[in-house]
Symmetry: C2
Subunit: 642 residues, 2 copies
């Protein structure tokens, strides 16, 4: 290979990734540079493209949320408007998912739909750039009159993320989506600029949307506006609602807060945007604060699944250590928001802990939400289902976030398109590069084809059926002659992991990351072996709700006991586990030694209580992300110890 | 004494009690027959009369909820109406509280206020009897158009309970309250009768209100209408809201349900009304169902405090065994509803278990809600406060139900007047009679003066400073010559209780009830001694949220550890208790041996965790009902064992 040291003659293609900071420890790889080609995630991407996008498209039409734009264009609003105040945003998230998927596959059918939907949206935009179907027309409330609940800026933030996906995957596209976003962003800067309306949106999202649109289009003032919104938050400009201003993170300025708090999606979206602002402004103090918030949130406010949010009432974080499994809200969108926050911290700082949390959340929240056919979803992801639910009507719309079986659609249906856009862009989360090489953060069969800053081209294939097995092979397909470094994440749970180069000896690698630096040649193989033996995980003593229990994990997957696997008449309420006998893997499943106590007769349940010993039998576990796929059932992740 | 065997010449005075069934195992004693004269409850009744009633009166005026009736009378509604859709009901609960308090004390000032308030309400009633400030006028939604949330029938139920209190304490009163209620009840029977509107109210209360008004006024059709409402519920006539029809108990017919479920106040009010209907109709199947529901609810859905309701989101019961202490909602009004239900079951069946739960709920929910001065209240009663709250503004109104300090008033302010009416009528819950004697259910300094069905007069004084001490003396002041039975409840926790008659030997009594049958003479003394040594209480193994913890109780009081009692820098989050060393009583407080672990540094909280042993010291506990009276603090009832 010959190094290309001259600058390319044309503007470099944009990096086709959701977050592309101008600086930071690691550089993202776009969809063309990292490509998942199968395995656990490849199958989910296939279902997403084949089923989920069409499912969402159909619902956006049948629920009238797309039709709202037509009504706006026809001038017949507010009559006939359907859906909640934030319905526009689901259309935008769908467009973002389409954009990424077109970027992956080049699907002409999806391209046609993107153009059609964009045209309907563009027709609804007002001459000054304002775009929202819920506000501002005769008979509607005035623009920006309800910052607490109106979601106008929130919706635009999602529009901007869609435009970012579009411009980064199709820079020359003529569909107009980017123009629509630009006009709306200009209006936001005019209305909410330094001397303008000093408000913030009740649902953060505009921050991350504006910051990325500014990066994608090279518009500094969008970044400046994002900074203004981040700085203004926490100064009590929003109303003191029943759940307090903490719900909107308007209780404490971002740089003064100690942990994520309030509504868990809002908190994570805000934090993600704040990282963007901190990085672009070299604002180390803000980044320090966000690092501390991330650490405390992970350490005291995150479920073992990576899920976040302990309250159903306000879809919010609880206090430190308040992590009830049976009331876990763990909203799918909060998990996605957490990935957005962690990913930006990873790009900024490079620490493997961020990628660990992303992996945990991907396998146990993002993978849990959709059904196998991609046409039904968990909105909330409980860790303990006490009562079997009823199957959801595949044609219906669930008024409830917290069903015990996946539902095809919700009155508030943020999660399906959020899952779709995440899966469609997942390739971009597999690996990064820096000046000296490539870092692999997630393990999936994939092709990595990238160019370092100095022009050296690198091609690596990842071969694995992880997490079925723990062997991950990195096969170099193309390499510069100079040495470069291949860095592999070693998950925190993977004590005993080994790395082998070619036919060399296996060497143990400590959790964190292992770096192999050498002058690679095509055909070189690095093999990472992660120990996947099922293991017990104990909760910290401070987590009151699961004291005296253990969970079982296998690699990145949290396991659970589901009633359909118990002896007849048994229920997860009566399960007690023998925690002195290690879980074993047999016949493709993980088994524990457990007993199932019979249901006690009702009596006053406090005082002197001796529980009956239960006969111990072998009980199989299910991957948490696979539960509730075999009909109504009860389920628990945390297993009381005998 | 000479027995009076002839019938009295005039209609007997009504029994001045909230619930007076026409049949059943026990007969209630009215305010004139049982009179609390001091002690724990006497002090709370004094504060209620001296402070709380005036506090409520002031807020009803300043919040405009009373003024709504003036606007209705002036024909100027809907403009200017203030408060939530159920604001009328708070005025009615205040009138009920006034009526009972006037019945106790004869206060002329309160009597004057009752007349003044009643006049304002009466002026708002429409010619056909309709009474509600929120519906039915030009510019308002039509009458009965929002049965899910309109609360019209709910408000009337409270009006009827107020009228019941009035007519039973002042049968000859000319204020017009009873007439207002009668006109409204007649309208309800016309509109919702057998051939009328087949709906039910989204918030049960009309059932118990109509049943009791029917009893108090001898109007069978009110009882019939109550029965219709009970029978119609559970048949999905209300909408399927986000939380499901279970929220309104409209998921399953009353007689088919297995436990209380859904909104905890609604569930208990409905159950109370259903007992009334079952008893009046000799409907044993319905009473059987309610007995089973009570038992399962007590056994699996009730906190150690007697509190009910595990969900903040919908103020609802959780599933069986879902009793998180830190998310305990345990609404004050749900506790009061539970007392209403238990009391009616006690009158119907006589079992001491009902009175046990009433006592527990009185001491740990009803007594917990009001501040010492009776001008601030807990709406929700958490069992674990993790973060100190901010003091409430004494002039303010709290938008939040779940504050960690008592608040003077709430946007939804059901609890203050509910506490007031309960305390003002508490005398009626002390004792009952049957054909053979008197049964004492609650222990307070009191005078009991009643007449058995056969005309025998009985006078007994109760002398005690319970629960400071466990000695309760029953001094007979007047007795028929014939033998009769004095039955004393022995709480389930009181193993080792003894009874002594006069100077006789102490005899141990099993928990349940002890009956002393003899030909008592004036001056006879029966002394019950209840062991009050503090004790550990263990939760049933099925209650996941408090596994590995113990609570400490003393007599009927649940105790708690509060941060203000811990060593400096200590917090309840770090408390671990030595459960092998029994709690001791010293210097008027209960002490346990406990350590306080320091706060851990943030890290991933699942995996291998060894908690540091903490140095053990003596830590004093506080009665749960007294917590949060010494400034912002954290608190927990359930103490992890070392």
């Amino acid at each position: 290979m010959t190094l290309t040291t001259s600058a390319p003659a044309t503007t470099p293609a944009p990096v086709a990734a959701p977050a592309v900071p101008s600086r930071g420890r690691l550089r993202p790889l776009g969809l063309g540079e990292a490509r998942i080609i199968g395995g656990f995630w490849g199958e989910r991407q296939r279902v997403n493209a084949a089923n989920t996008l069409a499912h969402i498209r159909g619902r956006l039409e049948s629920e009238g949320w797309l039709g709202n734009f037509d009504l706006a264009a026809a001038g017949t609003l507010p009559d006939g408007r359907r859906g909640r105040e934030f319905a526009d945003s689901e259309v935008y998230k769908y467009l973002e998912a389409l954009s990424w998927e077109i970027g992956r596959s080049g699907s002409a059918a999806l391209e046609e739909d993107l153009r059609a939907v964009t045209a309907r949206i563009a027709a609804a935009q007002e001459p000054d750039g304002y775009l929202n179907t819920r506000f501002g027309r005769p008979g509607q409330e005035p623009r920006w009159s309800d910052l607490e609940w109106g979601h106008e800026l929130y919706c635009l933030g999602h529009l901007f993320q869609a435009a970012v996906a579009r411009v980064r995957t199709h820079p020359e596209a003529t569909d107009g989506l980017v123009d629509v976003a630009r006009r709306a962003a200009d209006l936001v800067c005019t209305v909410f600029g330094a001397d303008g309306n000093q408000g913030v949106c009740g649902h953060p999202e505009i921050e991350v949307g504006l910051a990325e649109l500014g990066r994608a289009l090279g518009e500094q003032r969008y970044l400046t506006q994002a900074q203004l919104f981040v700085d203004r938050r926490g100064r009590a400009t929003l109303a003191d609602i029943e759940w307090g201003r903490v719900y909107f993170q308007d209780d404490v300025p971002v740089r003064d807060a100690e942990a994520l708090r309030g509504h868990a999606v809002r908190a994570n979206y805000l934090a993600a945007g704040a990282v963007d602002v901190a990085v672009e402004n070299d604002d180390d103090a803000l980044l320090d604060a966000l690092r501390e918030q991330w650490a405390r949130t992970r350490g005291r406010r995150t479920y073992i699944t990576g899920g976040q949010g302990s309250h159903h009432q306000d879809e919010a974080f609880g206090d430190d250590w308040e992590l009830p499994p049976d009331r876990a809200y763990s909203e799918t969108c909060a998990g996605i928001g957490s990935i957005m926050f962690s990913w930006r911290m990873l790009l900024a700082e490079g620490d493997a802990g961020y990628a660990d949390l992303i992996e945990r959340t991907l396998f146990n929240v993002v993978a849990t939400s959709p059904s196998a056919d991609g046409r039904a979803f968990f909105y909330a992801n409980t860790l303990h289902q006490r009562v079997p639910g009823l199957p959801a009507d595949p044609e219906g719309t669930s008024p409830r976030a917290s069903s015990s079986l996946r539902a095809p659609w919700f009155d508030v249906s943020c999660c399906p398109p959020n899952v779709a856009r995440t899966l469609a862009s997942l390739d971009a989360y597999v690996a990064t590069r820096d000046t000296d090489g490539v870092q692999v953060h997630q393990f999936a069969p994939a092709e990595i084809r990238t160019t370092l800053d100095d022009g050296r081209r690198i091609a690596v294939d990842i071969e694995t059926d992880y997490p079925s097995s723990g062997t991950v092979r990195f096969v170099v397909r193309e390499s510069a002659d100079d040495p470069w470094t291949l860095t592999l994440r070693v998950p925190a749970w993977a004590a005993g992991a080994t790395v082998r180069i070619g036919d060399g000896p296996s060497e143990e690698s400590q959790p964190g990351a292992v770096s192999v630096r050498r002058a690679f040649a095509a055909g070189d193989v690095v093999e990472l072996t992660l120990p996947l033996a099922p293991r017990f995980s104990h909760p910290a003593a401070e987590i009151d709700a699961v004291r005296g229990t253990v969970a079982v994990e296998r690699g990145p997957e949290v396991l659970a006991v589901e009633s359909v696997d118990l002896p007849a008449e048994g229920d997860v309420a009566g399960v007690v586990i023998d925690a002195r006998t290690a879980p074993v893997e047999r016949d493709g499943r993980v088994w524990v030694r457990a007993g199932v106590r019979p249901e006690p007769t009702p009596r006053w349940p406090y005082g002197e209580h001796r529980s009956e010993p239960a006969a111990m039998v072998e009980v199989p576990l299910v991957a948490y992300h696979d539960w509730a796929n075999r009909g109504p059932s009860t389920m628990r992740v945390w297993l009381p110890t005998a």
